[in-house]
């Protein structure tokens, strides 16, 4: 009997051991067995919302700005329906209280039994080291930048880009340096410019005109065959094979008249003219419609107009493919660091202008963007100055590089030519950073 009692005692002891060990071996709730990585999901959600800096822009807006509601809609839209969230934005301050909540919103009363969070630091645009550039022409009657962004024209030798995308990039790069930047949206507006009509109250004189259409130039319909101003754009009697060479002559005249700096960003300047409506059924022989071939005579006619010579058709080549590999000039290289623009120092030139144009058209090389190779200038700014005169009457920036264009070279060339100064301002430390915390929980269950 004693043995049986002893065994019962042993059973009681083992039962006690089992109960005690079971109390310590607490198994997790089903949700924790195979958890979704909520902190990572929260972080990637915030990064997605800030993919185009929308989140950074929104969190610095006033509390009653509609952007907050849009942020909440976007957040609700991108998370799975079984997730609840709480988004809180904190102001980062110095002093005793480092983080002060300034705004929060949620899609639930509470975040369930457990939640995870991720934080994301956003910076306002003021946090960067601020540099204020001197505006070109702020001390004179100039300072307008025209960028040809005509929707009714096609480009050539800008492969991989559209003229409009290049125009956008150029505006971003150069508009801080000019008093006014005008995007010329169509050829009608270009026609107004040619007629000395201001588009937005800007100063037309001494402006810079960037042709983003590569080897092609937009032409207003009025200057085309059968329209009112055809005599200034179309002249088959002088050049039967390339009648629109006349338009390039007009451009040269206007450049001289208004003392513009005409900018050609790539290739042979003024090799085609384009107007999608007027040349609806004409192509450049390579399948790009809305375009007419001008050929070699275009740049010669432009320079004739610039130099106030009589218009004649001259198809003698002034651009050559001899240079091949070319290098940035030392002047322009020095400006790379100053303006923070770093294109490759060596490029390929297949349309370098000949030095012969300097004497033929009273030009002066004001800035060599690339080093000269023999009698070829791969890229430069030419000032037109009449003999025995000192005043500049029109300039030409021509980059005779092969396609595809790098518009940073255009920007750098212009900045090196005008040389606007940069004024650095103070680093603004207060109120420049905000912390966004996204807390996620799973709805329902235990």
């Amino acid at each position: 009997m004693m043995r049986t009692i002893e065994i019962l005692l042993v059973i009681i002891i083992i039962t006690g051991a089992f109960i005690i060990s079971s109390l310590f071996a607490v198994l997790p709730s089903p949700r924790q067995v195979s958890p979704m990585n909520l902190p990572r999901l929260a972080l990637t959600t915030l990064q997605t919302l800030d993919g185009d800096y929308d989140l950074s822009a929104t969190v610095f807006k006033a509390n009653n700005d509609p952007a907050w509601a849009q942020l909440q809609i976007a957040l609700s839209a991108c998370l799975p329906p079984n997730l609840v969230y709480n988004l809180t934005v904190y102001e980062i301050q110095s002093g005793t209280q480092l983080y002060t909540p300034i705004r929060y919103f949620s899609n639930a009363e509470n975040l369930g039994v457990s939640s995870e969070s991720a934080s994301y630091l956003t910076a306002s645009s003021n946090v960067t080291f601020d540099v204020t550039p001197e505006k070109i022409g702020e001390h004179s009657n100039s300072g307008t930048l025209y960028i040809l962004n005509c929707s009714d024209a096609n480009g050539w030798w800008i492969t991989g880009y559209t003229a409009q995308s290049l125009a956008q990039d150029l505006r971003d790069l150069l508009s801080p340096y000019f008093k006014k930047t005008i995007m010329v949206q169509n050829t009608t507006q270009l026609g107004q410019m040619l007629d000395n009509q201001s588009l937005q109250g800007e100063t037309l004189q001494n402006a810079v005109v960037i042709n983003t259409f590569g080897e092609c130039v937009p032409i207003p319909k009025d200057y085309c065959q059968g329209y009112g101003r055809q005599n200034e754009g179309y002249s088959p009697s002088v050049a039967p094979a390339s009648p629109y060479t006349r338009y390039c002559y007009t451009l040269g005249q206007r450049t001289a008249l208004y003392n513009w700096t005409w900018v050609s960003i790539v290739g042979w300047p003024l090799y085609y003219v384009s107007n999608k409506e007027a040349f609806e059924n004409a192509d450049n022989t390579y399948g790009i419609y809305g375009m007419q071939l001008v050929s070699r005579g275009g740049i010669n006619a432009f320079l004739q107009g610039l130099d106030n010579q009589a218009y004649r058709y001259d198809a003698a080549p002034v651009a050559f493919s001899i240079p091949g590999f070319v290098y940035l000039s030392s002047t322009v290289s020095d400006n790379c660091s100053y303006y923070g623009i770093y294109p490759s120092v060596n490029q390929t030139s297949t349309r370098a202008l000949s030095t012969s144009i300097i004497n033929d058209y009273n030009l002066t090389v004001a800035l060599k963007i690339f080093d000269q190779v023999g009698s070829n200038i791969p890229g430069a700014v030419y000032d037109h100055i009449f003999r025995n005169d000192v005043d500049i009457t029109g300039s030409l920036l021509a980059l005779g590089l092969t396609r595809t264009p790098d518009i940073r070279l255009t920007a750098l060339g212009l900045l090196a030519y005008y040389n606007p100064r940069l004024y650095a301002s103070d680093y603004m430390a207060n109120g420049t950073s905000r912390l966004v915390v996204l807390q996620l929980g799973q709805a329902g269950g235990v």
């Binding site: 009997m1 043995r3 049986t4 002893e6 065994i7 019962l8 042993v10 059973i11 083992i14 039962t15 089992f18 060990s21 079971s22 071996a25 198994l27 997790p28 067995v33 195979s34 958890p35 979704m36 990585n37 990572r40 999901l41 990637t44 959600t45 990064q47 997605t48 919302l49 800030d50 993919g51 185009d52 929308d54 989140l55 929104t58 952007a67 849009q70 942020l71 809609i73 976007a74 957040l75 609700s76 839209a77 991108c78 998370l79 799975p80 329906p81 997730l83 096609n154 480009g155 492969t159 991989g160 880009y161 559209t162 409009q164 995308s165 956008q168 390579y286 399948g287 790009i288 419609y289």
Partner: protein
Amino acid sequence: MAGSTIDHLVSLTIFLAAILLFISLFNQTIQTAILYQQHRHLATVCSDLLDNIMLNPGYPLNWSKTNSTLTSFGLQDPEFTQYRLSPYSLMRLQSLTGIPFTYPRTGVTYSNMSMGFGNFLFVPYTKAINYSTAAQLLGTTNTYGFNLTIAPIVTVSVKETHAANPLTIVVNVAGPGFPLSNAEVSYCFLKVVDKGGQKNPSYTSLFSTTYADGTGSAVINMTNVDADNAYVFIAYAHMSGLVGIGYHERNIGSKKYVLPLIDSFEDRRVLLVHSYNVHDEGPPESSVFFNATFVLLTEDFTLREMPMEDSTGKLGKVVYGQGTDKTWANLTIPTFNPGILIATYQTNNEYGVVLMPWGLSSMAFPVTFGTTADKPEWVVTDIRQVLVNGIAYQAKLSLWSLKGYGVIG
């Protein structure tokens, strides 16, 4: 003496029974704990593997744009950091869900990522990464099986509610949890101008922007569109960092058309083939003439047409037979910027337009890559929000162990 023996026998029996019972009970507890640990470990591996795929561009870095042999697997866009994936790497994943097909004229088999008629994406198997290669490069062969789904977060559905004059199109924008109220909708409308029979078609295009209402819906009316006009409508919706894409085509006829097949990523070359060569519907059949163009999404979320030169092969025709005419045409995409190849086509009595994304995100195509689980004991999933060329996607990885679960058996 007998009483003592009985006492021993009873006590020993009870003792052995109790020991067996307690061993079983302890074993149960230990098994549950070990299974928990294994499942927890699997969840950790899943999260790590997903990060490994998303935060690593692979090697060579530009493998998705070249013919290089892949030596390290990853989908991150090499030009960015964080969770931004390359639209070209995603194109080169062998689709698990699409039914592959072999083009009889060349004998090449294609991975099929198409999203219904008119929205095609075919990548040669020889250019696509298969599951076993990816598993080997990730070190999961014979240890884990996985399935990766990358799908757009924002759904932009485009429906035609009135056929002609005006053509009425309704665009609905929503995420998985909520409609995107007041989203900005940028759209491209391209109408095929049927020139009758054996000529290359032409097209007219219109680009514009509108806004969705409070329910995420936008109604767009198009004038000068007849019921027998073929067209394509592509819409990009954008709000607070979320971008989505939707499209809709109307084709006249559905038998004779051109089909785009990617031929070379490095050379950006696409083959346009006659549909009868794919479906083998039998000769004789008339040539299909085409006229292609390319549109891309700019940084300001508007669509822009990029004109193509003749040398790209944008104009041409393809035939069914094996005569002197071409049974396929070569077309070169003009850029490595992601966009949409739009090929308008016409033959004697059928005409329309087909689309192909250049970069998976351009048309918000989803992709499922990996293998299917064969009765796994436990499958874990993890998700990340990612950007593919600015388009918001969700990446979901399902992972299971191939080692069995010996603790139970």
